[in-house]
Amino acid sequence: MFKKLAIALGIASLAAVGTVSADSIKIGFNAPLTGFAAADGNSALKGAELAVQQVNSAGGIHGQMLELVVYDDQASPKEAAPLAVKLITKDEVVAGISGSYSGSTRAAATIFQESATPYISAYAVHPDITRAGPFVFRTSFVGDVQGRAGAKLIGEVLGKKRVALITLNNDFGKSLAAGFKEKAAAFGIEITGEYDYGIKDREFGPIVSKVKSDAPDAIYASGYFFTAGPLVSQIRAAGIEVPIIGQEGYDGQKFIEIAGPASEGVLITTSLNRDSTDATTRAFIDGFQAATGNAADMVAASAHTAVLVMSEALKKAGGTDKDALRQAIAETSLTAATGNISFNALGEVQKDVQVQVVRDGSWHFHSIISDAVLLAPPAE
């Protein structure tokens, strides 16, 4: 028995030979390329690849090319953690970017922080991600901030005061709900009922019935396109006409495809304005359309932004020393497709919240929530 084990172990160590491509700077990238979140992961990857291609064709980082080392984490933290270890110990990346959801990003972040390797979360919202330590940054909103913006959007901008809360029971949904509830009273909102559902649920019959009997003026529902799509269409199918407000989890064409006509008029808080006239944003949106043939979405834009932040910092740091890189990232100040990026002490950004609405089968500009005090990210 022991001999067999020894042989097995021997074979194991043989296979652990890494490949090195000289003279490129390697950045780790984890995203859900398969599994339920695959649409978002692949979109984020394309956004990141577009950015890498743009950086490299403009001369790279002082002549050295940028290279993404991509792994599929299936939006699962238990897959992401070992991948992070692999990126750092086997592929020896200089830094990492997460193109994935909160759960996996959070698990990977603690690993990156521990090995003092810079890590940027492109769009994952859970507050604990940056709390992993000074090597972790985030280029998008914290869930709580977005939730607060949602409260202002519903209570003040739309003037609806009785709101039903439907929450996806995971990092993403819970942090959004926390932020929303925190500021609900300040905007005169009364929460008529709170319901949660699991990420695998597609049948919302009982919740929809209960919400209908609550008779709210608006519904604040968190989810991803594959849950929000069925949810919204079931809500409308039950005859509930009140406004539905979602968040960036809905952001993308897939949601509209699934919910169909029910998606008309749905509002979301997000960070990409498709109708933007800003040059950088337009360059990204048009560039993405040209390169992939698909419409850009928030996850692609966020990943694109994260890569740009990383490349600017690499140029400034003038080398691949991880501490110097971290310092350079912390001092970032640039304008990208998802807004103006600069980090506070915790590694969080402060920027306006875009509100988009579905009109005629695609996403369009609705309004902007711009309230520095309300949208201040956590500082610790």
Partner: protein, 287 residues
Amino acid sequence: MLALDLLIQGLVQGSIYALIALGLTLVYGLLRILHVAHAALFTLGGYLGVLVTNATGSFLLAILVAMVTVGVTGMAVYRFAYRPLLGRSPLVALIASIGLFIASEELFRIVFGAYGLSYVDPPLQQRVQLFGDISLSVARIMVVVLAVVLLTVLGWLSVATRTGVAWRASVSDPPIAQAFGIDIERVRYLNFFVGSALAGAAGVMVALLNNLVEPTMGAVPSYKALAIIVLGGLGSVRGTLVAALSLGIIEAFGTIYIGNYLDRDAIAFAFLIVVLMIRPHGLLARG
């Protein structure tokens, strides 16, 4: 009216469970095999429903194509997966079935993509006002109607036609039935065809209700269907139906009222474990 609304939700969900679980109980009754891979047939039905509707615009055609194709696939599963294993311990077939199921989920992903498919123009979306405040989409009503129709037809066929009687005889007592000259093989193929076709129909309807087909959509129904047939007493058609509808209703109320303590899917299993401890052969076991 909330209670009534939830009850109706429960019946709709229960009808779906019934369509899926029935195939499972038919197979168990005849072969004593827990046919976990049954859920893969459900998923296949869902994909076919979407693909055919999107390609031809006819939902009716899609249901027919799905049911027939899935039914035939079910027969193939019997022929190539289970028949060679008949002499062995039922555990072997169970594990082989689990392996088949997991592999097929992955195959769906590889063939149809990871993103899931949707109906381009979902049919049956109009809403019908029932009583009071309650309105249901035609699609939901269809689920219940379809279940009732299919099961009634099946029930009638099994008493009124020779094949049906032969089938019932084989399910109750295979050796005696064989001794009477009934072609057991034909009955088995028929069994798999019917059970799988029902699951295929369920798949088409679920795909319609959610407007989303995913490679893993069969996972949860497969586990629940197992819990259901055990609850109903393995092999008992009536028991399965009762258990399926009961579970649908319990889940509908449970999601709202105990959803804070227990996951919706765990409710089915909690129920199951409790029942099995009291009646180790299921609620309405046959002897």
